[in-house]
């Protein structure tokens, strides 16, 4: 029965017009994702008006293509120019850019597309065959569980601290303080806004990110004038090497499940899933110290999870009528305008449509894979541009990216401020990644904790009496302890190495 419907769905999707539109959507999605400041959400929102005139399955197919393409596309700029094209790719920067610096951009890109495809396609499969079951579990998630999830995600701050645990934690606290800027999520009171209306919703995420990572890198580039001109010979490869695949496959599988599930939980999206999967990959790795320094499994974890999240986020949208993340919220609107009301009734009244969405999702992922491997050879050319030309281009893309999020000059200023902060942080060995993580998870932690306490009328035990939230909190504590021990060992070893051969300042 299910397979029958699915085959029919594929029949619809493979009609030339529909297939062509999905391809068009996927290509534009990859490009939109790769451009800093244009997120998957914006891409889908901007193109919805074009789908009004199309038949439902074609219009929706195109939007699905944009969705999947953009989530993958973000990793391209994350790896190549240290700017995550979308928030979903924030975790990809952590290991993708170091790999690029080592001259292994091709390796990182091929792993990114491979992991994205496996994650995305499996996410779509899980969505096809397990939607009702997963949405039932997702409904168990309420404020205490979100708090547990946020705490678990935050517990990896220590392990991404770089050289100094103290500095990493300082950066984490600093980042979370930044995330409290704006209207308080529970009482609506303006905190630390210094009278700027533009700060009511907090410092916008993308401009902050662009400042901390891309602009800071521009300033550093101007200072250091990398002696070696652009990496000339980037080893081009379409697929990751067998060794890399063998090394990462377990992580990819695990991250796919993490991503799909977190996607299915309304209120947590692909950015969070990527970080949680990254943290889990690092926690369970035999060589956690290589993470953050160009570890291929780090890229695999982040990309598998954020793409799996696309399928996951569709689950509650279709089966409950509640979007799993920001993009599916926009997609939901598009479906409603097309006259389809997602929710339990959709499966009853329009089951054929549901299965053509499933088929469209798988097709979009397949096409994304092809577009990705075909595109790698063009993408890597970016870094073979001379640095003295590349850096100004990165600068301009950063400025435009910061601006276009909200059409706001204020956000450009914000990106510049964070660029300056990021530059000095980098100079003095303060890692920027904990800030990133705190900005994503801090607000979730605060609002879910306070919401949990409102619901429980002030009873803290609500956090520890619900099985899922208790499990997540215990997991967070375990990860915190092991990470601290490991990180301290690492620091001791580095200190010893430093003592043996003191590095001279340049």
């Amino acid at each position: 029965m299910e397979l029958d419907l699915l085959l029919k769905g594929f029949g619809v999707v493979f009609q030339p017009s529909c297939f062509g539109l999905i391809l068009l959507g996927t290509v534009s999605g990859v490009l939109i994702g790769a451009l800093p400041g244009l997120t998957a959400t914006m891409g889908v929102a901007l193109l919805i008006p074009f789908t009004f005139g199309l038949p439902v399955h074609q219009g929706v197919g195109m939007l699905l293509g944009i969705f999947c393409g953009a989530i993958y596309g973000g990793s391209i700029s994350a790896i190549l120019i240290r700017t995550p094209g979308t928030p979903a790719a924030a975790a990809t920067v952590l290991d993708g850019y170091p790999l690029n610096q080592k001259g292994e951009a091709g390796r990182a890109l091929s792993m990114s597309i491979f992991a994205s495809f496996v994650g995305g396609f499996s996410g779509a499969l899980i969505m096809t065959f397990a939607s009702p079951q997963i949405s039932r579990v997702a409904l168990q998630f309420s404020a205490p569980e979100y708090f547990g999830l946020a705490i678990f995600g935050l517990s990896i701050i220590i392990s991404i601290s770089g050289n100094s645990i103290v500095k990493g934690i300082i950066a984490g606290f600093f980042g979370m303080l930044i995330s409290t800027i704006g209207l308080d999520p529970m009482a609506g009171y303006p905190r630390f806004t210094f009278g700027f209306m533009d700060l009511f919703e907090g410092p916008a995420f993308i401009p902050t990110l662009i400042g901390l990572f891309a602009l800071s890198e521009v300033f550093k580039g101007v200072e250091v004038l990398y002696k070696q001109e652009a990496v000339k010979a980037v080893k081009q490869q379409l697929l990751p090497s067998w060794t890399d695949i063998r090394k990462a496959w377990l992580t990819i599988v695990k991250s796919t499940f993490i991503g799909t599930f977190i996607g299915a939980v309304p209120g947590a999206g692909s950015d969070i899933s990527a970080f949680v999967a990254y943290g889990e990959a690092k926690r369970s790795s035999k060589h956690p110290e290589t993470f953050g320094k160009g570890e291929i499994t780090g890229v695999a974890a982040a990309e598998a999870a954020n793409n799996a999240c696309t399928g996951g986020a569709m689950i509650p949208m279709l089966s409950l009528g509640v979007p799993g993340d920001a993009v599916t919220a926009v997609l939901l609107g598009a479906l409603v305008i097309q006259g389809l009301q997602p929710g339990p009734l959709l499966f009853k009244d329009h089951i054929d449509m549901v299965y053509s969405i499933f088929a469209g999702m798988m097709t979009a992922n397949l096409l994304m894979f092809l577009v990705g491997i075909f595109g790698i050879r063009f993408f890597v050319r970016i870094i073979s541009i001379e640095r003295s030309l590349l850096i100004p281009i990165i600068f301009l893309l950063s400025i435009v990216g910061a601006y276009s999020m909200r059409n706001s000059l204020f956000d450009v200023g914000l990106a510049v401020v964070f660029g300056i902060i990021g530059y000095f942080m980098q100079r003095y060995d303060f890692p920027a990644s904990p800030i990133l993580l705190s900005l994503i998870l801090g607000p979730l932690a605060e609002s879910s904790l306070r919401r949990a306490l409102i619901v429980s009328h002030g009873d803290f035990t609500i956090l520890f009496t619900r099985p899922i939230s208790l499990a997540l909190i215990l997991l967070a504590i375990a990860s915190l302890i092991t990470a601290t021990i490991m990180q301290l060992k690492l620091e001791k070893r580095m200190l010893a190495e430093n003592a043996q051969q003191p590095r001279s300042g340049s």
Partner: protein
């Protein structure tokens, strides 16, 4: 890396004190149990403690050696400072002069700072890249960048 660590530690403490002080003045909400000040105060406390740790470590000489000292006489540092200041100017002028002019000029300057001296190519690339990005965002994506007096 002693001096920067001391500086960062003090800065962290100052931020923590500022946050705790201003959070103290937030209205407390009886209905919500944890008011708007709860989280910032906790976080600032954490920031303060770890800033103290950093400071203590630096004062006891346990800081790791600096890999890249901030030497004010270093031409690289000069360049970075110039680009930092110029970017602030860029932001100020962006609205009045418009995206195209400001960006093209800044890009040219940035290339100069990056030690390029082939002026013709530099000018061509600055203008071309600016126009290309302007075109993509303005025309294709319908995101209107500040046009300045040209608009």
């Amino acid at each position: 890396m002693k001096k920067p660590d001391i500086f960062a530690g003090i800065l962290g403490l100052l931020i923590a004190v500022y946050v705790i002080y201003s959070a103290y003045h937030f209205p407390e909400d009886k209905v919500l149990l944890l008011g708007p000040s709860f989280f910032p105060t906790c976080l600032a406390g954490g920031l303060g403690i770890f800033s103290l740790l950093l400071l203590a470590g630096a004062l006891r000489g346990k800081s790791r050696p600096c890999t890249d000292p901030f030497n004010i006489k270093d031409p690289g540092v000069h360049r970075a400072i110039i680009s930092l200041l110029a970017v602030i100017l860029y932001c100020v002028l962006l609205n009045s002069l418009g995206f195209i002019i400001t960006s093209a000029v800044y890009l040219f300057g940035l290339m100069y700072l990056l030690q390029r001296r082939d002026y013709l190519k530099m000018a061509a690339v600055s203008v071309a890249v600016t126009l290309l990005i302007y075109g993509i965002f303005n025309r294709l994506l319908d995101i209107s960048l500040p046009a300045g007096f040209l608009g």
